[in-house]
Structure formats: structure tokens, C-alpha cells
């Protein structure tokens, strides 16, 4: 098998003029400085009038070489770099590495740690989806949604601040446990937040979902079929919106998800509206999960290994994954027996989800491109790493 690698200059050859009377196609550059870029993703569009013919994503504007850096750090130090990939679900990123290392090193985790991890991760999933909801509203011109979602983000953030001490880059879930124990009034506070968020999710629904403009812009736009989603490697709400009930929390239960009852939310058509509504519904499910776990957090230590001991993995290859707010984050570690990985690779959800735009955007207008890209919920540093 041969692979042909073409540079951007080779791809971007100006289309020939089709002759008199016909329209000419042209290239338009979107990003890296663009409100829809949510960071710095560059997308090159081949347009015919306002209709998109081809989409060429050009990632790499925040590529920091995290995978290479990990080779110089030991397994505890790697955790803080994972915060900086998908910063909106930092805890779940921590969890992915911690879980891989624990499985490989044979560290047994007690139920208390699992429960705390699950509750924290679900709180962050709510926060992440709520933030996404606000940003989608802002992208489509509804600034009110942004104000609502950031108001609620702060309320969940206060719990994180009190327990973890950080607002964004948490560095909380470590191999062998969690950094700090929960505070004594954690349970009461979380319950209060849940009661509040329950009301708020309904408010989100009434505020934006019923809006005619939003429905017009999302319904039937950017349809991603189940088959295509699987072949592109899409995961998370993008895949579930396409109709496949694949959720690692259910398929391969980890943490304390086995103890909780919850539904996997699936869409029917795979359009932008489904991706929108799957996330709204997932917030409700996350609230449900936490409600079941919050009352009986088992007793026990919150760290089963000593902080300053080196963790050494036996020689071999290890892979493990968790379901983040955006999809499956996989961690592959090739260990040569030392306390640092020989090679480490992240399978990040946003990277695979991004390629969906190349398949679903052609044929739509530029304005729809905004809705499509926003509904995929891309976090660019997660793509570039």
C-alpha cells in the first residue's frame, strides 16, 4: 500500500475558470483568528458562491508536542499536561491517564476514590455541556445563552475551587487516588447545586430549544449518518446523535458508573439538532447519576499509594480509555520498564470528531458551516495536543 502525502500548496490550486456563463469556485480561509475557531483552528473552504464544495481543516496552530514532552516526565507528572489538552473536561483527561497507569501497574482502587472521581467527572460534564450550550447560542447570535451558561458555570466552579483549589486546570485525579479529600460540606453543596442545575437545564430548554430561529438553523442541517460516524471514528455525543448507543460508561463500566442507573441518550437523524439535544439530555442524565451516588460515598483513604513513590510499569504496551464530555479519550503507553513512558499517544475525541466537517459540510452554505462546526463541540488544543 502506498500513501500519497500532499502539501497544502499542492491541494490549494486555484480552480480553472469554467468558461463564460458558469460560476467559478474559489478558496476562502476561515481562521485561525475567527469566532467559530474556538481557539485557533484553520479551515479552508472551497466555495461556489456561498455553497461549500470542499472543506480542508488545517490543525496545528496550538501544537505543543505534549506527547513528546510526556516521554521526559514520570507518570505522576504527565497528569498536569493532560489538563491542558481538553481543558473543559480536565478531570476526565486526568482520569484516562490515571486509569491506564493503575491498570498497568496493578494498583487497586477503593470504592471511595471511584465514587469521588465519578461525581467530580459528572459535575464537569454538566459544566462542559452547559458552557457548550452557551457558546453555541453565541455562535448563532443568541448572546443571552452565553450569559446564562457562564453564570451557572461559576456555580459549579465554586465546588471545584473549594475541593480542588483550581478553576480550570485541576490536576486532581492522580494514579492511585485523588489529590485531596472532599470537604465535609461537599455533599450538601453538591445537592444544592444539583437542585439548582435541574431547574436551569429546564430553563435552557425553554429559553433556546423552542426558538424558531435556532430550530431552523439546526434541524436537518449537517446530517451525519451512523455508518459514516463510525467510519470516521467519531465518538461521544456526535456518535450518539447519529443513532449508535455507544457510551463507554455503559459499554465498559468504569468508576462507579455500574452502581448508577442512567440512560444512554441517542439521536435519530444525526443532524445538528440531534447533537444539540443529546447534550441537553446528557446534562439531565449526569444530574441523575450524581444524585444516586452522592448520598453514600463509601469510607476509606483517598490515596492508596504514597505520593513520593515512583510508579514503574512493567515492559509492555497498555491502552485504556474513558468517556470524556466530547467522546472517547484513549491513552496508549509503551513502557520500557522505567518510571517514564517510552512512547505515549493520546487518541483524542476532538481530533476524530473534527473530520466529520469534511463529510457533512459540503453542500451547505457558509452560515450553516457555523452551526455544524459549533455543534461538533471541538476543543482545538485537544486536536493539536
Amino acid at each position: 500500500m502506498t500513501a500519497i502525502v500532499r502539501t497544502l500548496d499542492e491541494i490549494l490550486i486555484a480552480p480553472a475558470h469554467p468558461g463564460r456563463g458558469a460560476t467559478q469556485e474559489y478558496f476562502l480561509n476561515m481562521g485561525p483568528q475567527h469566532p467559530i475557531a474556538h481557539g485557533s483552528l484553520r479551515v479552508i473552504l472551497l466555495l461556489d458562491g456561498e455553497t461549500i464544495r470542499k472543506v480542508i481543516p488545517v490543525p496545528g496552530y496550538v501544537h505543543r508536542g505534549i506527547e513528546k514532552m510526556c516521554e521526559h516526565l514520570n507518570y505522576r507528572q504527565i497528569i498536569h499536561l493532560t489538563d491542558r489538552m481538553d481543558y473543559l473536561s480536565a478531570l476526565m483527561n486526568n482520569w484516562a491517564v490515571a486509569r491506564t497507569v493503575e491498570k498497568a501497574a496493578g494498583i487497586e482502587i477503593n470504592d471511595r476514590i471511584e465514587s469521588i472521581r465519578t461525581i467530580m467527572a459528572e459535575l464537569q460534564r454538566i459544566q462542559s455541556h452547559a458552557l457548550w450550550w452557551g457558546v453555541l447560542g453565541m455562535d448563532l447570535g443568541a448572546f443571552t445563552a452565553f450569559l446564562y451558561s457562564f453564570r451557572d458555570r461559576e456555580i459549579i466552579g465554586e465546588i471545584f475551587e473549594e475541593t480542588i483549589g483550581a478553576r480550570l486546570t485541576m490536576n486532581y485525579i492522580q494514579p492511585g487516588g485523588v489529590m485531596y479529600d472532599i470537604t465535609p460540606d461537599f455533599t450538601a453543596k453538591v445537592k444544592k447545586v444539583l437542585a439548582y442545575m435541574k431547574r436551569m437545564v429546564e430553563e435552557y430548554d425553554t429559553l433556546l430549544s423552542g426558538n424558531v430561529i435556532l430550530q431552523e438553523r439546526l434541524r436537518g442541517v449537517g446530517i451525519l449518518s451512523e455508518k459514516r460516524a463510525v467510519s470516521l471514528g467519531c465518538t461521544g455525543p456526535v456518535l450518539r446523535a447519529a443513532g449508535l448507543a455507544y457510551d463507554l460508561r455503559k459499554v465498559e463500566p468504569y468508576g462507579a458508573y455500574e452502581k448508577a442507573q442512567f440512560d444512554v441518550v441517542v439521536g435519530t437523524t444525526g443532524d445538528c439538532w440531534d447533537r444539540y439535544y443529546v447534550r441537553i439530555e446528557e446534562m439531565r442524565q449526569s444530574i441523575r447519576i450524581i444524585e444516586q451516588l452522592i448520598d453514600d460515598i463509601p469510607a476509606g483513604p483517598t490515596m492508596v499509594t504514597k505520593f513520593n513513590t515512583k510508579i514503574k510499569l512493567p515492559v509492555g504496551r497498555y491502552y485504556n480509555h474513558v468517556e470524556t464530555a466530547r467522546g472517547v479519550l484513549g491513552v496508549f503507553i509503551y513502557s520500557d520498564g522505567g518510571d517514564k513512558p517510552y512512547r505515549l499517544h493520546f487518541r483524542s475525541p476532538s481530533f476524530n470528531n473534527m473530520w466529520a466537517i469534511t463529510k457533512i459540510a459540503p453542500g451547505w452554505r457558509i452560515a450553516d458551516m457555523i452551526a455544524i462546526q459549533s455543534s461538533l463541540d471541538l476543543v482545538i488544543p485537544d486536536i493539536d495536543r
Binding site: 483568528q33 496550538v62 501544537h63 508536542g65 514532552m69 521526559h72 457558546v135 478553576r167
Partner: protein, 227 residues
Amino acid sequence: MGLVTDRLPGLLEPMPGGSILITSVDAIINWSRANSLWPLAFGTKCCAIEMLMATGAPHQDMARFGAEVARQTPRQADLMVIAGAIVKKMAPRMRLLYEQMAQPRYVIATGSCAISGGPFMYNSYTIVRGADEIVPVDVYVPGCPPRPEAFFWGLLALQKLIKSGESIRHPGIRKKPVLAAMPQGITADEIKQQLRTLLEKENTIDIENEANNRSWAQKVDQWTQKI
């Protein structure tokens, strides 16, 4: 501003009282510049969530400092908030954005990534170690990410810089960059209290005091008599 800054000083200077007028016009211009900063929404990474989005949201509300009009295009902005890591591929684009911004322009580097490369300082093959290698930075706000309050601290530092900065006689002068680190051991409540008193002092006019305080009116009288 062309007429005011270029032609007017030359006309006013020889007049009696002209220099006093120029100085007070300076104060007015700088005051309005400092209180109507339009930031460019330029965020590459995690800091952008905290610096540009959370600060614009109701809980923190950057509008109190007159800097809430985040623009997406550099041509309408005069404050660049570098929120996040700059890598080699992004560096030329950032320089371009900076050059497209309207004059006078200011730069705040927030987060350790923009200051020195931060967590990616060692062993990374793509990072630019400090945004000041590419654009001149006025205020540094340390943190990873800095709290929104810390960002306001930096914004206030920048406003101070602007107020004491450029003048009609010395256009284009640049003050030395400052590190707007918050004092050690300060709590979030203390910061909020300080910000509140600052805001009240700056933005409220005590009408009774102003009426009694005739010095300003007297000054104007003096000038008009001189002219």
C-alpha cells in the same frame, strides 16, 4: 486624532496658557483611552476561557472597567489579550494581528504560557517561550490560568500605564512593561473589596463636594482671562 495630536499643539503652544490647556487635554484623552479599551478576542488555549469568556460573563463582568466590547477583528480593537500558548506556527499570525490593530495599541500577556512558555517551557519543540519575543507586551499577568480577579488587576495596571503614558508632546512613548502580580497572601474577598472601592472612587462623582470645590472653575476662568 490626527488634528488634535499633530496640528493643535503647534498652534496652541505659543498662546498664553496654551501649555496648560494641552496638559489637560492630555489627561482627558488618556482617561478616555484607559476607560474604553476594546479587546481583541484572541485566545488560543485554556486561558481564553477564563480571560475572555468568564470575565465578560455576568459573574465577573468586565464592563465595569469599560473593556467589554470584545471584537473579533483586529481592526476594531486596541487591546490584545494574549490568552494561551503561542506556538511557532501561530507566531507570524499573531504578529500580523498585532500590526493590524488600531493605534495606540496595548498588549496584556496573561498566563504563564504567554509570559514564558509556562508548563511547556521545557522539552517542547514548538512553543514560543514568551509572547514578548514577537510583540511588545505592556502588562504581564501571571497564573495558570490567572483568576479573573487577577486579570482585572492587570487591566487596572494597564489603565494606570495609559493614564500616565502618551501625551501630545510625546506621542508614541512607551512605558516600561509591568508585572501585575497580585500581592502575596491576598484572598479573593480582599481583591473584590479593593476592586469595588477603586471602582467607586473612579466612577462616582460626589456632587456636593464638586460644587464646593471651585478650584476647577477658577482655573478655567484664569485661562480664559489669559487668552
